[in-house]
């Protein structure tokens, strides 16, 4: 039994060594994330071509529903003054969702790479900090760390940093665990089917034992949870936390 669960493959390396950052590696994550962007943008263009004011098509109804849902989600969680966050949250949700679900067609999810979630979490962290400074000024923001007593300052800094880290790791962990469990199940079912079919005597058994017959069907059922449910849930949770944290930060 040979189970190989590894990080993203590197397709191409640009041989220029930048200080600190290292060589540019065009990895599976980057290529698939481009594909994700293409899918989302293509979908948007397809949904919004040929818009009509009256007598709308089903396609347009779906597009309008998506826009309304995004509006309602952001304004419901954050309030009317954060209207300009709608495209940000929508892009975050769409990218996360499509990245999670793209594993259904056998590609490696960009969200199965911690770099992706870390990037998103850092952006969210910057936005949270910006809102906090906007609400209380730089002094108020820094003073907030010494509340309620100065002794707690290290813990406050820790909890501040824990926000993006926990967001990134939660999302990453869920997607990665799906991949790991899927890999284990495929390998285990292959072993099981070869063991069962190997019981058939003679040449027939030897040939059939090479075909992992149990790998057909059973992983699909499990993928309903590990790909569909987890993928949708994590995208939703990430966006929910983003809106909540930013709205809370603005309240001061």
């Amino acid at each position: 039994m040979n189970v190989d669960i590894s990080g993203a493959k590197v397709f191409f390396t640009i041989p220029i060594d930048f200080p600190v950052l290292g060589k540019i590696q065009i990895s599976e994550t980057i290529v698939v994330s481009w594909l994700v962007m293409l899918i989302i943008t293509g979908l948007c263009i397809w949904l919004t071509h040929d818009l009509k004011v009256e007598n709308i098509s089903k396609r347009q109804a779906v597009a309008e529903m998506l826009v309304e849902m995004a509006n309602k989600f952001v304004i419901g969680n954050m309030g009317e003054k954060f209207r300009y966050f709608i495209p940000f949250v929508a892009a975050l949700f769409a990218t996360s969702l499509v990245s999670n679900l793209i594993s259904l067609v056998g590609l490696r999810s960009p969200t199965a790479d911690l770099s992706t979630e870390a990037a998103w979490a850092v952006i969210v962290f910057i936005l949270i900090t910006r809102e906090k400074i906007k609400a209380g000024g730089v002094g108020g923001y820094l003073k907030g760390f010494t509340q309620p007593i100065p002794l707690l300052t290290p813990f406050n800094i820790l909890s501040e940093l824990a926000t993006p880290i926990s967001m990134a790791c939660r999302h990453f962990g869920n997607i990665l665990s799906g991949i790991v469990i899927n890999g284990l199940i495929y390998a285990a079912l292959a072993v099981a089917s070869s063991a069962i079919l190997g019981l058939i005597p003679g040449l027939v058994g030897d040939v059939l034992a090479q075909i992992p017959i149990l790998d057909v069907g059973i992983p699909a059922i499990l993928s309903v949870y590990f790909d569909w449910f987890t993928g949708v849930m994590q995208a939703f949770i990430f966006c929910m936390l983003t809106t909540m944290y930013i709205a809370n930060a603005a309240e001061g």
Partner: protein, 167 residues
Amino acid sequence: MDVQELVGIVPWTFIATICNLFIQIYLIKRFLFKPINAMLEKRKSLADAQIREAEQAKNEAQAMKSEYEQNMLEAKNKASEIVASAQKTAAVQSEQMLAEASAQAAAMKAKAESDIAQEKRKAVNEIKNEIGGMAVEIAGKVIEREISEEDHTKLIDEFISNVGEAS
């Protein structure tokens, strides 16, 4: 083929993801939110315009209705005025006619009466003269000169006026 770490942050992937997210925000804004919001705005303005038009039409209809009602009221008043004046005129006219008729009748009656009186007087005078003459003649024949003609006439006149009054 090289493989990156399973759990780790690759700086260039990190940077690329940040860039990708911002590009994605722009794309989703440009290709989903902008056209849909523009369309929704257009639909809203269209609906608003329709509501405004309907309201305007309603106001116009109301104005027309009140105008029509006023006209009707005026017409009705005018009609009743005309009827009233006609009635008044008719009454006046009929009264006038009646008065005229009665005046005419009275005049006719008065004239007839005066005619009758005149005729009567004439007749009486004639008869008086005749009878007077006759009586004088008769009396002259009966008593010859005992009574002068003057006394005679006086006596007869007296008698006749008594007859005239009695008749």
